[in-house]
């Protein structure tokens, strides 16, 4: 089924970017979620004046929080995302971001270091060479975008839970919070149970080659049990924390758990 070209307009990069731009937040959208009881937000919300926007927003935010709890309750850490044969891989795998590929972070792997912060025993930063020494596994899974499209890819890297163990992370903490190098400071929180899921991976390779810039060089966090926007690319730091620090899309209204 992954062969349908219209599902992934990835054949045409321009089209993809156009698509991503459509989901890009503008000032009005930010206001919609921020909770301003403005007429503009009201019109956006309902297309008419019937529903009071601020109370609707408050209600929707509450339900979304409730949905976080429901999803956490439903989450079975032993349930594995389906894996696929190599023949099922989507080619080309789409580049997807809220910016053009030319604006994607262009990181020099020699200078880059993964910063580790928060509730961990060993806060040492990791060079790419050091990380490449860790045992790696490959998995072919389906990436599902919040927009609805999906694509099957092959990701290779170190299970995040092994790394968390290695650095002596307090796995009773609530979140692992990732900061990325994207413009506008992309970041995203990952709940600890999802972080410890056996398929959650610090990814260094795509299709057995060093992760290209389009897919998040030098390191992506691949979480096959989460929607795409919770699979951060160009990661520069991770923090083990009990605080909910929000995230780029989460703050704008995407459901924070967004687990599959």
């Amino acid at each position: 089924m992954a062969k349908r070209p219209f599902l992934i307009p990835g054949v045409d990069r321009r089209l993809l970017i156009k698509d991503s731009l459509k989901t890009m937040p503008d000032v009005t959208r930010r206001r919609f979620i921020a909770g301003g009881a403005s007429l503009g937000a009201l019109a956006l919300l309902t297309g008419c004046d019937v529903i009071d926007s601020s109370s609707a927003e408050t209600m929707l935010a509450k339900v979304s929080k409730f949905n976080d709890a429901v999803q956490a309750w439903m989450f079975n850490p032993d349930a594995l995302a389906p894996t696929f044969p190599e023949s099922a891989i989507t080619k080309p795998f789409p580049f997807n971001a809220y910016y053009d590929l030319d604006d994607a972070p262009d990181i020099d792997g020699k200078d880059w270091k993964l910063e580790v912060r928060g509730l961990v025993d060993n806060k040492k930063s990791w060079t790419l060479d050091e990380l490449y020494q860790l045992p790696q596994v490959t998995q072919i899974t389906r990436h599902i975008c919040v927009e609805g499209w999906s694509a099957i890819g092959s990701w290779t890297g170190t299970p995040l839970r092994d790394f968390l163990k290695l650095i002596g992370a307090d796995t009773r903490a609530q979140y692992v919070w990732f900061q990325c190098a994207d413009k506008d400071g992309y970041n995203s929180p990952l709940d600890m149970r999802s972080a410890l899921h056996p398929q959650t991976q610090m990814t260094f390779k795509y299709a057995n080659d060093i992760l290209p810039r389009a897919y998040g060089f030098p390191m992506k966090i691949r979480v096959p049990t989460k929607l795409g926007f919770k699979n951060p690319k160009y990661v520069v730091s991770m923090e083990v924390t009990n605080d909910y620090k929000g995230g780029y899309w989460e703050d704008q209204g995407y459901n924070s758990f967004s687990g599959s």
Binding site: T23, F32, I144, S150, T225
Partner: protein
Amino acid sequence: MASLTVTDEQVGATPAKVIQPAWVRIMHWINALAMILMILSGWQIYNASPLFDFRFPREYTLGGWLGGGLLWHFAAMWLLMINGLAYLITGLATGRFRKKLLPITASGVLHDVRAALTFKLGHDDLTVYNYVQRLLYAGIIVVGVLIVLSGLGMWKPVQLYYLVMLFGDYPTARYVHFFCMAAICVFLVIHVLLALLVPKSLRAMIIGR
């Protein structure tokens, strides 16, 4: 109670029967609201990554952008699910489904379709559904179950992988979800048109008689 027979000419010689019990009416209108919220927010979500070569006009979408549409969709979901489950359970437990919707025979459907198309299908007794109604109402319940199952599968393709398997794979579940929506929209148009053509059926769904 023959002694209580009303003489109102509009009602006729027999007492006005309850055509739609209160629980049916309440659940019907809650469902109508939930469906409209789900469809309009669903169109917003569809527009983020269309399956076909068209998008829904922005004026007919709910939420302002994808994130808002998703918030509405996953809020109205509870209304639809809880109300829908209550409806299915009550419908089965009270025997309403069996009494009102069964049997559905091919000859009965053919007969009533022909009668409907030649405007000869009577609606004298609204307590008995004709075969076209039975088919449509039973069919839309099946579609409703399918759209919820495909939707749940898309929401939780790992945790509820067996639901995705039921439809084949994740992209197929999306198509099933879409076509169920389309079927509901077609149903909605026919349903509303017919209710307007037979206003007493609309009245029955509001005040029961």
